[in-house]
Symmetry: C2
Subunit: 351 residues, 2 copies
DNA sequence: CTGTTAGCGCCTTCAT
DNA sequence: ATGAAGGCGCTAACAG
């Protein structure tokens, strides 16, 4: 392709690379900037000290070629990738997208990208996802809760990647836990109702088997009531995942019983909003005939004709805090760490 | 480490690998199974024909070692990864997690994993994300809408990865579009209201600049009304993203005007549910005093005391269909393809 | 501050 | 049906 038929020189190679649509590599940048590949690599990763002039030349070359580093090559060479594995139980429940939003916010502006997996609350699937994500040698793995299969736990402990277990802090984490005490949150719900003078308290819940945190809150609720010498006068649970529709139906079932009830604690806001809808449809005055309290502090609860009384669990903050801590140190520190993002009662108008 | 001090043999190496916690590689599997690495690779990828007996031996070795392929190495060698890049405008609006849920469902059972990015409706950020995701040489890139910066479009067209543009089908895609005609959906909303006998129709909307599809529906709505010789008698829009709270406030603003209104079309269900809340709080009878129609078919709309009349946009199906098509063929086909997942009116009780 | 030398673990191509 | 050789693009030592 050269005019004189001699061996291709560098600029010719470059030219060909561009014309052929071959993605430029470090080597191309290095040639253009007249430095070694290594130096280009250092500039890109901001490692070691580089002469200002050199850095400029390299950056100019990168710009000119539109060079984008090949992440697979980088990962292979360094045996660690810019991937953050994120394992969520579900995407149907809005709290997990919000957690993901926090994670994503913590990652924005960094070269790290989240790679996700969804377990559908199945620990066996979680285990497979852990294995499949570890195959990418991620910088960190984020999951929820402390329940894992034995093998999953071994994989997590054995790998050198950082591990964050989110949402809950009522147990000892492998590496890092970020969340709130659901047991305490349940107690706080009980105390709030007691403080407001309610004594005949019922419970409406969803699937505990999948959602251990909902169960922890239920237990805390019982303990909080016990502090005041009270206990639940009635309870009703669906086997389904939480949803507005299930909340509506399940409250109806609870009220169909013969217990005298003046307040209901719900397993979460989805269920509570559904409960509110039932009250609207059935002509039950809230909170005069029946008080309602939820958990999570979802936006929809605050948009009801009467804002829902609930407990704010800061999902976004949990995700973001986790990422911030994980990125602080790429190696797992000698001691585990627990970050309590807390909760707060939202004093709505329904309890 | 050997008893007799001789050179380490294969099984000793294997032993060391396991004890040292060194992750086993293809080479380890190959030695154990007494075949070449190549053969192991073929077995794993199910490529070429392999003697049954060999395959068994290899699989046994894989099992025994707990071998997990290094994805970075695979990606580098094949210059293509098992990553599906997914770029979403937002995670706050439930429709995008639902889209992601569909994508994830389509990916489950395959070795592909989604790597995500969120643009916040910013085309500049989308461009950066495209570049950053292409650096992983993904098998495909999924994004929403047809609006991209020129450079983003060039990157997408130039790369050989498959590209899906979701949600909308009112334009020509780069490779594949999956979604519905939002213009048609708007028309359908208008026709529904007209059929129901409403003639004084108002509109409540949110940020069109970010949400082009909402604008398309608005236009379709106008066209649908025009077919019946009608036009909007009033409209009110927030500059904010859609939300229940904004829907509530914006309907209040619309009704504060002096137009006679008997039905309101909302830009989506979030806004419509908020509108419903306003009606509840303000004592407006729905649909007798005021009819409401939304768009999306969210669960929350169906849990209202009166189920919301709305248009179902099947986000889950869109995501899943897109993945199915993308995985059918790893190379971009010569012609572009458009898949219409359609929509349907949900005949609720509010219009 | 910069360059040289070896791989990282796998897949592709070509043999056989 | 299987093996051998080479290289993907980058980073990690080590020099200097």
């Amino acid at each position: 392709m050269t005019d004189d038929g001699q061996t291709l020189d560098d600029s010719a190679l470059l030219h060909i690379a561009q014309v052929a649509g071959t993605t430029p590599t470090l080597a191309h940048v290095a040639r253009l900037a007249n430095v070694s590949e290594n130096t280009v690599s250092r500039v890109i990763r901001n490692k070691g000290s580089i002469a200002v002039e050199t850095r400029q030349r390299v950056n100019a070359a990168i710009e000119q070629l539109g060079y984008v580093p090949n992440r697979a090559a980088g990962s292979l060479a360094s045996s660690s990738s810019l991937i953050i594995g994120v394992i969520l139980p579900s995407l149907s429940n809005i709290v997990f997208p919000e957690l993901l939003r926090g994670i994503n916010a913590g990652l924005s502006g960094t070269p790290y990208r989240p790679m996700i997996g969804v377990t559908d609350y199945d620990l066996g699937i979680e285990q497979e996802l852990i294995s499949s994500l570890l195959a990418w040698q991620p910088a960190a793995l984020i999951t929820t809760g402390f329940e894992h299969t034995d093998q999953a736990r071994r994989m997590l402990e054995g790998s050198r990647v950082r591990v964050a277990e989110l949402m809950d802090i009522d147990n000892q984490p492998i590496d890092l836990a970020v969340g709130l005490s659901h047991c305490e949150a349940g107690r706080a719900m009980a105390r709030h109702l007691v403080r407001r003078g309610y004594t005949n308290i019922g419970y409406v819940g969803h699937d505990w088997i999948a959602d251990r945190r909902a169960y922890a809150r239920y237990q805390g609720l019982g303990e909080g009531l016990a502090e005041a010498g009270l206990s639940l006068v009635a309870e009703c649970r669906t086997e389904q995942p939480s949803s507005t529709l299930e909340g509506r139906k399940t409250l109806a079932r609870l009220l169909a019983g013969d217990a005298e009830i003046d307040a209901v604690a719900f397993s979460n806001d989805d269920m509570a909003v559904g409960g509110f809808m039932h009250c609207l449809a059935a002509g039950i005055a809230v909170p005069d005939d029946l008080a309602l309290i939820g958990f999570n502090g979802l936006e929809i609860g605050q948009a009801l004709p009467k804002p829902l009384t609930t407990v704010l669990s800061n999902r976004f903050a949990i995700g973001k805090a986790a990422v911030n801590v994980l990125l602080e140190d790429s190696k797992r520190p000698p001691e585990t760490r627990i970050i309590d993002t807390g909760f707060s009662i939202i004093e709505g108008a329904t309890a």
